[in-house]
Amino acid sequence: MENQLRNAIRKLLEEKTVDVAIGYGRVGVGGAVGAVFVTDPSEVDRLVWNAECRQNLAVHLSRPEVKALGKPAIVVKGCDARAVVVLANEGQIDRENVVVVGVVCEGIQGADASGVATGTLLDKCVTCVEHAAQNVDILIGDAAKAAELDAANAPNAKTAGKQAKLAALLQKTPEERFQYWRDEFSRCVRCHACRQSCPLCYCNRCVADKNRPTRIDTSATLKGNFAWNILRAFHLAGRCVGCGACSAACPAGIDLDLLNLTLANAADEQFGYVAGKELGAAPLIGTYAENDKEEFIR
């Protein structure tokens, strides 16, 4: 599969269909996988595909430094592909001007604190039903295998993995939940790594960086941290694709994507909306239906 991927990218670069390919390569400590930017067809062997390709590369599509390299091809997993769809739906990329190379992903392995693969799948992969990336231009890998894996996960998609963690949290009393987040947010240092790693936090100037007036405290106090994390999560309402880049980036190990999952579940339950599923779909917030539920309004 890795060879198939390299060949496909080589062809794109050789035929000058794209100027740069954003893919995975062994770039970090001890060969840890991170993003590589291949512009020369002779360098496609730097690209790898394996169960340690954790990062969502779609974050690079809106970065000016990467845009400067020209028309991109991007390697995406199923979850990442949905981020590309949201970027296109929100007018952040011209879908015609990006070649999306999807891979069949059989699941990504978690890593320990040293970044060494643990051998167990990430929570998000346990409930994944998009092993083959959708809405892509080229799909690398065995689609039949992907369908099998999807079918195997489907019964547990709403209950296993991260959903189970969220369910466990929701079992607690509101006071316990508040205390849980209080403990978690007390570690937040307000580095905003969650925002920077998120493919959909693409604003040129985040409200957290605005100071005329200051919308939320910049200080890493509980007050500021609550305000920030509420804001971050809700600005992704109906948009988050559940790639988990935020949680993965958090140096303080805060399970930020539980908040995003809550909103994704609510979007699905209340409005039947799954972010990034459909190219051309209208954004969830920004549209409405006259019969939206309102039993909570008096």
Binding site: A35, S114, T218
Partner: protein, 337 residues
């Protein structure tokens, strides 16, 4: 003869200090996450050598958020009320040698010519006890930047795990000796640290390249995969950039000093809209230049202890070690060839 304390004695030491009103900081293990935290009960701590800690002990000297002063507007006048002095005793038990080593590196910065009393008072009131490392991981490179698994720099005392529920104590300062006086007992057991981590690059050579190649296109290439999250700076024991902001209202509020990071695009943005460090390449260049050229040029040591926190916490598999390795492989080696 060596001096030895048992784990029980260490716990009791922490408990005694707590009841005497001191602040006690120690590694706290929660699931897979290890944090240095101020504890309220000795039982919360895990007194064992750690490698992978999500933060550094920096925050107990230079907190992520600190009030500099408060103010109250009184008619036309403004009363400025200074922040209180740091007067508590503070004991850190279980820091890593690479955490402690950052303290003497930061001393000259905070006491250059203007004296930052917030850092200095904490420094004076704190006793730092480290654990000599028992293991390293692929991110560690202390040995490459003048450190090591039993580096004494910044430690008042160091504990060597003897593997039998006790530790050999070596004290390096009066503060360290005072802490263990009357507790440690004589023994013939001696401990040792693990072997230093290996590195196949020469920091000195890379540092020379960094100093001489400010305008190199390599910086942008090197930094392409960096998304500018700045987590590296927040977990770094030596990174010390900060922001000063006012909070509260026009009539009553406070001015605070908050951690900041040179990787943020806004960091150097002028009010005019001009930004001298407008790309991630320039920002990474600043980070590495600061660590390996500017700081040693001004104060001597590298602004890096080789702890590996940056690359461990980097979502993009980047950080100081990968950056040095890449520069070494791509440019330094090429120069030599």
């Amino acid at each position: 003869m060596s001096q030895v304390v048992t784990l029980e004695q260490l716990k009791k030491l922490a408990a005694d200090k707590l009841s005497a009103g001191a602040r006690v900081v120690a590694p706290v293990v929660d699931g897979g996450l290890v944090s240095f935290k101020e504890i309220s009960d000795a039982a919360q701590a895990t007194f064992a050598p750690q490698v992978r800690v999500q933060n550094s002990i920096k925050e107990f000297f230079f907190p992520k958020h600190e009030v500099i002063f408060t103010f109250v507007r009184k008619g036309n006048d403004v009363e400025v009320i200074d922040a209180p002095d740091f007067e508590d005793d503070q004991i850190i038990i279980g820091a890593r040698p690479c955490d402690a080593a950052a303290l003497p590196i930061l001393d000259p910065l905070f006491g250059w010519d203007y004296q930052d009393r917030f850092f200095q008072q904490r420094r004076a009131k704190t006793t730092v006890v480290t654990f000599a490392c028992k293991e390293t991981d692929a991110h560690c490179f202390c040995a490459a930047v003048d450190g090591g698994p039993d580096n004494q720099a910044g430690s008042d005392a160091m504990l060597f795990d003897l593997g039998d529920g006790s530790f050999e104590v070596r004290t390096f300062t009066d503060k360290g000796a005072a802490l263990f006086a009357g507790i440690a007992t004589e023994s013939d057991k001696t401990g040792s640290a693990c072997a230093p981590p290996t590195c196949d690059f020469d920091v000195e050579k890379v540092a020379v390249w960094i100093t001489e190649n400010f305008g190199s296109p390599e910086w942008e290439k090197l930094s392409l995969r960096c998304v500018g999250c700045g987590a590296c700076a927040y977990v770094c024991p030596t990174c010390h950039c900060f922001d000063i902001v006012d909070e509260g209202s026009y009539s009553k509020g406070q001015r605070v000093k908050n951690w900041d990071a040179c990787q943020a695009g806004m960091f150097t943005l002028h009010a005019s809209g001009h930004n001298p460090r407008s790309t991630q390449g320039k920002r990474q260049r600043q980070r590495l230049t600061h660590k390996f050229s500017i700081y040693p040029g001004k104060f001597g040591p590298y602004l890096c202890t080789g702890c590996g926190n940056c690359s461990r916490s980097c979502g993009a598999s980047f950080g100081v070690r990968p950056a040095l390795e890449t520069l070494n492989a791509d440019v330094v080696q090429n120069q030599e060839d």
